[in-house]
Symmetry: C2
Subunit: 224 residues, 2 copies
């Protein structure tokens, strides 16, 4: 039985994809900034209530026409994977930091990013689970970049020291491939480049997902 995971196809040129990035990426950026402001504001209660009422009105405007359910992941005719809803890299997702991940065909993925007040766990520190969230994505992208895209099978994290909020970076690399399993390692680093969390994961591409991907493309998927 094929699980209910479906990649959809979308016919979009590189130019249309770029327009989408500017328009919706800009909206997501602004809402992320609003979220940060709402967490840290100390304005009077009346102002908070007024802002909330405006937010409700804006939400209603956006909801007059919308995709049912979730954004999903679509494969463009140019072979790009359009995962704009993704909780880590999705440019349309205000919950995502979002990471811009660079990759190389030898199975490496890396990124520099900012984790601010919205990602706090211990005071002033990145939430341990956010470190896991970011590393899961980096490891998965490294597996894909190395030619073995897959979903997380196992993920083991070792927290070596706290990660202060602010500038961070991360990197992941394919350690080895064993059949349908890709073993990937990675690490999160704080602003001064010192490693704070190390990770190792096994990524597996189930048969149904391989088939779904094959239906829509000729060349290897690029998770972008």
């Amino acid at each position: 039985m094929r699980p209910p995971v479906n990649y959809t196809a979308v016919e979009m040129t590189a130019e249309e994809l770029e327009d989408e990035r500017v328009l919706y990426g800009g909206l997501a950026d602004s809402i992320r900034d609003l979220a940060d402001a709402s967490l840290r504001t100390t304005v009077a209660a009346e102002v908070v209530s007024e802002v909330r009422a405006e937010v409700v009105r804006l939400t209603a405007r956006l909801r007059t026409e919308e995709i049912p359910g979730s954004f999903g992941v679509s494969l463009s005719s140019s072979g790009h994977v359009r995962g704009h809803g993704n909780a880590v890299v999705g440019l349309r997702n205000p919950v995502a930091p979002p990471l811009v991940i660079e990759k190389s065909a030898d199975g490496r993925a890396w990124s520099s990013f900012e984790l601010g007040a919205l990602y706090e766990g211990p005071p002033g520190m990145v939430h341990g689970g956010v470190a896991a969230l970011v590393l899961d994505q980096l490891l998965g992208e490294a597996a894909a970049a190395g030619g073995s895209p897959g979903m997380t099978g196992t993920l083991n994290l070792r927290y070596e020291q706290n990660t202060p909020l602010g500038a961070c970076s991360g990197e992941a690399w394919v350690d080895r491939v064993e059949g349908v399993k890709t073993i990937v390692k990675g690490e999160l680093r704080r602003a001064d480049g010192e490693r704070t969390v190390s990770a190792e994961g096994i990524f597996i591409l189930p048969r149904w997902a391989r088939e779904a991907l094959e239906e829509h493309r000729q060349r290897p998927p690029r998770f972008e």
Copy 2:
């Protein structure tokens, strides 16, 4: 050397904490809803641009007075831990689902929650890293509920099957305590109650954190 992690003290009555929950929790709920709408909307580009401009204006209103840096974690005079900025449970944090976690003194923590479009990884599915994020918090709260609060030392996750977006639940329990290490297990379940991800973590409370907590309270911390 004590790391730069500081719990602050706050004098607030239970009533004031409740007022804060209603006012700021309400604002965060509305911004989370706006974020979801922004991810799924298909309204015209002009409307998107207008909404964005409004969001920028509202953000400026909230930023006229704000806490510098991050929200932090404060300990109230009643012994409650006020972690409203927390990325998983923080009621003021629009990035947090947020989870409302129940606990028992025998070291169990559990919660039922909704993970919608903002938490997507594979199409229609909860991001593997979001599962890790939620489980890290649940395991940490179970350790704290059992009397051994700590920070994540290691976290091992096993993804047994996909978790569809929507209603989810999770549970964690202290397996055993070995000196300053608390070994906690847990699992994430999909709507029908079937387990999708299992987790095991080691939580450790460093000496400096024990001291910081002792400075502000008489009785065991309740991470709420």
